[in-house]
């Protein structure tokens, strides 16, 4: 089978580390993670190490457990009684599933971008400062500075600076997704999780978001679930390929796209199945 028609070349220079999943600065470490939903084994013995200050893309066909994995990173399964989780998940060397860990403390470390942006029912300004407010930041001036800073970071400031008081629902979907990013960044997380964050957006907005990810990866660890291989090729530093609830291969983008070790990975990235 002809596997590679066009060799993959990444536009940017590669970051420093590189040897499979072994990185110098692991940020999220998953150890023997198993997730069962209504008794069905969804994630099977996942072991992976996500390095910090880089973009890690999780790819794989629909229903392979990408989203389930991503949602276990910030314990979003907690409220669902059907879900049972075993194994360990370390963030900053702290097992987030061990007893006595405050869930709000974990979630504050991570910003989540959902598939469809979900603005809170309040003004643009209040959306951005919602997180800081509930975590106790007070004072008009301070909150305004936070809002301005994060909206600039999300590339939205120029479009909304004159209407910060209008309801967030008046923004376009693309703008709302950037607003959600600004809102996520405002709680000063260390990790940004994106669950197919660009799939509901038009090509231009989705390009803007992608570029934002690339800009912010100097400061944040970005983990993205994506359906589009091309997106992963464009922005990923590390790629995890999942199939049927198992982690098939994890490596740098270069390794995984140009020299995949596993036959399944080869087939998937060459479009053999989707």
């Amino acid at each position: 089978m002809e596997v590679f028609t066009v060799p993959f070349i990444k536009e940017q220079p590669k970051p420093k580390v590189m040897n499979g999943s072994h990185s110098l600065n692991p940020h999220i470490v998953v150890e023997n993670l198993n997730v069962y939903i209504k008794g069905i084994h969804i994630l099977k013995d996942i072991n992976m190490t996500i390095p910090d200050k880089s973009i890690t893309c999780i790819i794989g066909p629909s229903g392979c457990g990408k989203t389930t994995l991503l949602r276990s990173f910030n314990r979003l399964h907690d409220d669902n009684v059907d879900v049972k989780i075993t194994g360990k998940l370390f963030v900053d060397n702290e097992d987030i599933y061990s007893n006595g860990i405050e869930v709000t403390h974990i979630r504050k470390k991570m910003g989540l971008l959902a598939q469809r942006p979900c603005s809170l029912p309040m003004s643009i300004f209040d959306n951005v400062v919602y997180g800081p407010r509930i975590h106790g930041v007070r004072g008009r001036r301070k909150l305004y500075e936070i809002a301005r800073h994060q909206l600039v970071a999300a590339g939205l400031w120029d479009e909304v600076k004159d209407r910060l008081k209008s309801p967030a629902s008046t923004l376009s979907i693309g703008q709302q997704q950037r607003l959600c990013l600004a809102r996520g960044l405002a709680v000063e997380p260390e990790i940004i999780l994106g669950d197919e964050a660009t799939s509901a957006l038009d090509p231009i907005s989705s390009k803007t978001i992608e570029e934002l990810f690339v800009t912010i990866k100097d400061k944040y660890t970005v983990v993205l679930v994506t359906h589009t291989l091309r997106q992963a090729k464009r922005i990923a530093d590390y790629v995890a390929f999942m199939y049927m609830g198992e982690l098939v291969e994890f490596g740098t983008a270069d390794q995984l796209f140009n020299h995949p070790k596993n036959q399944l990975t080869k087939e998937y990235i060459s479009g053999g199945f989707s």
Partner: protein
């Protein structure tokens, strides 16, 4: 003309016709009330309580019934809101959306919704006897609350089931606690809650059967919860059953007052809910 076009025309006609019919009935009701009620409507009517010979056509007004109805509906709506909102929150956000219990609870509320108001009146009456209460403002409030709680729960619930899981997750992923999440949900629910309040006011303030046994009737304005109180629907009822024409006409002006009160409450509720939803938490 082919059959499809005919079909379209018939359905279009049916839709327009039905809407017109309903609108026409509403206008006709308003016309009758205004035509018969306006001549006998006076400042005296809304600013005074009945004097000795009021029910024989002498001077006095129905301030007792106006205030009674306002007190009654205000407290009933407050109590019902305090009960309905937590119930809806529990059904939608604590229980799983499609659990058996929530389905059963919804069915129960539908049944309660359909129970005639006289039954609530009679039930309220037995409760009052049980507690040794007499016909009083408190009794009326209890009975009217029972009447409007199912209305409120069902109409808030209609909006609550539409709240996307993503909203809850978006809030929680920012590190919000359950309580903070509920505050955000409440903001999203605000238009639904204001509609629910409007429906409840409409149902509660205009209902005569619930208050007939429970609130009693009196010519004075109640000064405590244990005193009986007059209400507008009963004021209309008693005056309309009088053989004296002048008194009958006053029933229509009482109906006009009731309608205007409902309109004022509706508009102000809509206005305030719109204002609130623009502001911050």
């Amino acid at each position: 003309m082919n059959i499809k076009k005919l079909e379209e025309k018939i359905f279009k006609g049916l839709m327009i016709g039905s809407s017109m019919l309903i609108f026409g009935v509403l206008l006709y009701i308003l016309y009758i009330i205004i035509k018969k009620g306006l001549p006998s409507l006076s400042w005296e009517m809304i600013s005074q309580i009945p004097s000795g010979g009021f029910y024989l056509g002498k001077e006095g007004g129905i301030l007792n019934a106006i205030m009674g109805s306002l007190y009654l509906i205000f407290f009933s709506v407050v109590i019902s809101l305090m009960i309905s909102v937590p119930v809806v929150m529990y059904l939608n956000f604590t229980l799983r959306k499609k659990s058996r219990f929530s389905a059963f609870a919804r069915l129960t509320f539908d049944v309660l919704f359909g129970i005639p108001s006289i039954v609530y009146g009679a039930f309220g009456f037995t409760v009052m006897i049980f507690f040794g209460l007499q016909a009083s403002l408190l009794g009326g409030i209890i009975a009217v609350s029972l009447l409007i709680i199912p209305v409120m729960i069902r109409s808030i619930d209609e909006v609550a089931v539409l709240i996307p899981v993503e909203l809850i997750e978006a809030t929680k992923s920012l590190g919000a606690t359950n309580y903070e999440t509920i505050k955000v949900i409440l903001r999203q629910l605000l238009p639904g809650i204001s509609t629910a309040v409007l429906l409840s006011i409409g149902r509660g303030i205009g209902d005569g059967a619930t208050v007939l046994f429970t609130a009693g009737y009196t010519d004075s304005i109640p000064t405590s919860l244990t005193q009986p109180t007059a209400t507008l629907p009963l004021a209309i009822f008693f005056q309309l059953s009088s053989p004296i024409e002048e008194v009958q006409n006053r029933a229509y002006s009482a109906a006009l007052i009731l309608t205007v009160i409902i309109l004022i409450l509706s508009f102000s509720a809509r206005y305030f809910s719109r204002r609130f939803s623009k502001n911050k938490i």
